[in-house]
Point group: C2
């Protein structure tokens, strides 16, 4: 099953953003002034655990987080798909996933294993990481991404965008990135890519065409920020937000027994981390900062709609 | 990988329990008086969720629950396997699983899907139930059970017994039961079967040979017991315990957010149910009743060892 309606968007985007309009910023193309500060507040990892789902749904309902993406291979995917289906206005993408990075709680591919041999370990799970598995076959990547997208569509999710768990599809060479991009085109769904990454990975820019949506910036907190400095990091990020379209990549969750067990082998992106993100983005301070800094929240679905309506 | 050492047990059991000893009770064969009341207190569904793992490990450490079985296809299997590996004295079996009975949290086969087509739904998960899927292919059952056993062995679990999630391998005809029995023989691991089931499913008795361990009785609480009568049910069961080897099939868990979300579509075997089982079997009353009724706790591993040592 394909998202036929999205093909129209792709055609429209191509018509609206012709090559000779390349000098226009994304904000201008969308009808905003060049200096507008447009922000997607994006929660990753939906479906990874129930504690992440519960926090994300609450944050989406409060409006403080306005976009999120779902991991199809994870056990709580049916809960996420059910929520997405019953909340069709919510900006859900697919967080395309090729690793199972934890120790005590794991998942494997959606595709049959024979079609993705380079992606799985001896026990049938995705690899923890790719450091010791450099021979990832782009054909396996394509088979697995296609299976994830098809399962999501079959279970009623209509993704507004595709992005990549742990940036695997961004950081691992031209061939793998081009699989990601090609599937975005085929399904008529924009993929998350930002100019911030062009310098480090030149194949991103050279692979993209004028029809592709490219965000200007992305901000995500890193393990070197201490718990005490957490809110400071986001305050500074909001105060220094650049004009254009920025995506905040955040990781919300509830610091409960499930999430503590899930993440107990290391604190990075763990239960306390996710509770801190949840706390900041649910705070009145965050809303106040958005107003103070004249930041306009925007979603992936709005990006596509604005383009289609011109 | 096979459990070669268990072959020895099978050979010994065959030698110890010859056909002409059939009149002996299991208790007598194990060296206990005929009227001894031997009890396995067995927690099902390990690995299904973290809340079940946490409760089971606690109950096993307290000694009030003395046996349990693990669901290999479930996402928390690595946590259970790690625990089993680091607690080699604990009596863990495999809770062989062919269904994914919940709505918002699901799992699929360990075998590649092409080898188990009759077991999976259109989205690649195990069926919720088999009521509308009567054409379960015994070859698929064998492929899947073998894959689960092999993954468990590869990840360091040395099962003391095999049993069957939702009794699928018991209640669905001779062919499927014989797959279960054959794999028990092949791996040298006893399967959970009791005389209590013979009347309803005559193919059980006719399939079993004199070398097979057969428990005398089993007790499990059912949905018609109200929360108020929970402890009464177990008190009565202990006071009325028959001589011979009985297995209490219980379902422990912690009534937390994860387990409530897992079981929110129905209360049966849900979060509150599992918390009630946990509460009763962790209580001092349960220990007191065991003493009062002169019940001796016994494990699957002890059953096999006692047989082997004779």
């Amino acid at each position: 099953m394909k998202l036929q309606s999205h093909w129209i968007c792709v055609v429209l985007l191509t018509a609206i953003f012709p090559v000779n309009a390349a000098a226009q910023t994304l904000a201008e193309k969308l009808g905003y002034p060049k200096d507008a500060k447009l922000l997607i507040v994006h929660a990753d990892d939906v479906a990874e655990t129930h504690a992440v789902n519960a926090a994300t749904f609450q944050a989406l309902e409060s409006g403080a987080v306005n976009s999120a993406s779902i991991m199809v291979p994870c056990p709580w995917f049916p809960e996420a798909a059910d929520y997405a289906k019953s909340h069709p206005g919510v900006d859900f993408g697919l967080h395309l996933t090729l690793t199972s990075e934890r120790v005590y709680y794991r998942w494997g591919p959606v595709a049959v294993r024979e079609k993705v041999p380079s992606l799985v370990d001896g026990n049938g799970y995705f690899h923890h990481d790719w450091d010791h598995h450099p021979r990832i076959d782009p054909r396996d990547v394509e088979n697995e991404l296609r299976a994830q997208i098809e399962r999501a569509l079959a279970m009623g999710v209509r993704p507004s965008h595709f992005d990549s768990h742990q940036y695997r599809l961004i950081e691992n060479g031209k061939e793998i990135f081009q699989v990601f991009l090609r599937l975005g085109h085929e399904y008529g769904v924009p993929i998350f890519v930002t100019r911030d990454w062009f310098a480090e990975h030149p194949y991103l820019e050279s692979s993209l065409g004028p029809q592709d949506l490219v965000l200007d910036h992305t901000v995500t907190i890193s393990p070197d920020v201490t718990a005490e400095k957490w809110a400071d990091f986001y305050r500074d990020a909001l105060k220094n937000l650049q004009p254009g379209v920025t995506e905040f990549v955040i990781h919300v969750g509830l610091d409960d027994e499930e999430l503590r067990a899930f993440s107990r082998e290391r604190a990075t992106w763990g239960a306390a981390w996710r509770q801190r993100d949840f706390g900041f983005f649910m705070s009145s301070e965050f809303r106040r900062l958005l107003e103070e800094q004249r930041v306009k929240l925007i979603t992936w679905r709005e990006l596509a709609k604005a383009a289609a309506s011109r």
